[in-house]
Subunit: 336 residues, 2 copies
């Protein structure tokens, strides 16, 4: 129910997703509003059909936490859609939760209702960045949950990212990097210098060392850990770069007569490039470190990004992320 | 003399620059090596001619500080090229110094020889990022001199950036932003929250508020301040993005028959786009907060980026940056 355009495009994405892969959806929100929206966009019949097929279910809740409300509103508004959805995961009635609503509220609701994993001080948000190698995204975390971090948090992010990269990205021995300002061990700020030492000692990780800004998209790393301030700046910067590049392409490509002819020929290829750069295609971010699978959508999510985010959730469930996270909690480093 | 490809391409850029704008150059280095390099690239005669014209001068020095040497090497190696060059500025025999060598060494040499401005705790490195608006770059600082910052440093960076933006970018009332993870005053890490308060109080600045990652390239801001860790990550990320995008263009544009025809028509326009994305075009960074004009080149600088960097130095001298920096030192906030 949450998100800038909810519930219409969210519903559209959900109904699309169940055609594409084998998931069932419990759609949590204000039933009347959902029915209204579904009629408006001509999806009422399809929705009803999928309800009959038991692929889709409407679950009643109160109004969503607004995008500009404080995250702590989840404590008072027990009937808010995110709380009702989170309870489904808590009570084993759902295997994952997805929301394009207030991400702070999602995080708070997850912490209060399903709780943190043992040994994890702070949950982190992990985002998949595209790399040079189209088939190989990199998981960057934290991208915004924790603005000020301690070295221990970053070590925990690395351990969590390692599991998600194994399961969701299907990489045997994920290559872990520490976002930093130089390749050498001695480079960095206080946080990264201390974190480097911790990561180097951790035998369960394939720690490759420092990852400079220029290396994030190189495809050299599968997981890059950083504090949530730097990660958030980088994520939003990346999202804007596609748009800036398209502006440059639009202004430079059709220049001159040859340019105009050439651009006309390239229309469909340019559309594909736009798609590849468009963050909608990349979908959701993962909330890591809580006792369940939570996928955070962009507030501005449209149908296509809902599908991507649900694919991510499906993949995490399918590859037993939760089971591996339970194993993770037994690591000595998380019990000291 | 410093830099990955020095002295050949540096010399080439210098000789090119003096054809393009009215500057004279004192080229500091090991004379024999310079002569050798100039012969190798066929520029010996031109160099000799410009020496006769008094536009160009060779100044003898020892070997340069290596790219991987500690910055503090400048204290022992008094005859290192960066020290000899810095002395020229100190003794009023040159108005600005440029180096593509070890940037830490340049900074250390500047601090030891020409000193910091009064009231400035830490010099910062400022880089010009291109924006959506081709004619309007944004000055981002610090991009790497100070990995851990205090709120006061960032306030000082803003004051310095303000002057450089006025003089070098010729903007009357530069719009200042604080790099942060949200638009609202209450968002951020400890550093940005405290810095926000300081910047809001400073009447000499046109402080617009927080600048998110996605806003850096929007053209909304003329100066963006941040700690040197985040700034460095962002700068290097930006430098790599151009290459990644070109890879995507190269792989996606020529797809299919229409794509091949279209791409052939667009060859020259694509070259122009490559140029626009290429950091070599954007040239040098500024060392702000020291008692002289210092331009830092990329270690990998080739001739074209040398020209850009020298243009930046020329522009700073031409628009009386030093005079305005001296005025800046009288501000009460720098004398408290």
């Amino acid at each position: 129910m949450g998100g800038d355009h909810a519930p219409g495009p969210i519903l559209e994405g959900c109904l699309d997703a169940i055609q594409r892969f084998p998931i069932n959806i419990k759609f949590v929100g204000q039933i009347e509003k959902i029915n209204e929206a579904s009629k408006k966009i001509g999806l009422y019949e399809l929705m009803e059909k999928e309800i009959q097929n038991s692929r889709f279910e409407l679950v009643a809740s109160g109004s969503p936490i607004g995008m500009n409300e404080e995250a702590t509103a989840v404590r008072k508004r027990k009937e808010a859609s995110i709380n009702v959805a989170m309870n489904l995961v808590k009570n084993n009635e759902a295997k994952a939760v997805y929301s394009a609503g207030n991400s702070g509220a999602l995080m708070a609701s997850a912490i209060f209702r399903i709780g943190r994993l043992k040994g994890i001080d702070r949950p982190a948000i992990g985002a998949l960045f595209p790399t040079r190698d189209q088939s190989r995204p990199v998981l960057v975390l934290d991208v915004g949950a924790n603005t000020d971090c301690k070295p221990n948090y970053l070590l925990q992010f690395a351990l969590l990212g390692n599991i998600y990269a194994k399961d969701v990205l299907q990489i045997d021995s994920p290559k872990i990097g520490l976002l930093n300002i130089g390749e050498e061990d001695c480079k960095g700020n206080e946080l990264s210098l201390q974190t480097f030492k911790l990561l180097s000692k951790e035998k369960d990780l394939n720690f490759l060392g420092n990852c400079e800004g220029r290396d994030v998209l190189s495809g050299e790393f599968d997981v890059v850990v950083c504090d949530g301030f730097t990660g958030n700046v980088l994520l939003k910067f990346l999202e804007s770069v596609g748009g800036v590049l398209l502006d440059i392409l639009k202004s430079e490509l059709p220049r001159g007569r040859r340019g105009k002819v050439g651009s006309a020929f390239l229309k469909s290829n340019l559309m594909r490039i736009k798609k590849r750069l468009d963050h909608a295609e990349h979908g959701g971010a993962l909330l890591l470190g809580v006792n369940g699978i939570c996928v955070i959508g962009h507030g501005s999510s449209k149908s296509l990004s809902v599908v991507s985010a649900l694919r991510l959730a499906h993949s995490a469930v399918n590859h037993d992320v939760m089971e591996h996270l339970i194993q993770l909690q037994k690591l000595p480093v998380l019990n000291s």
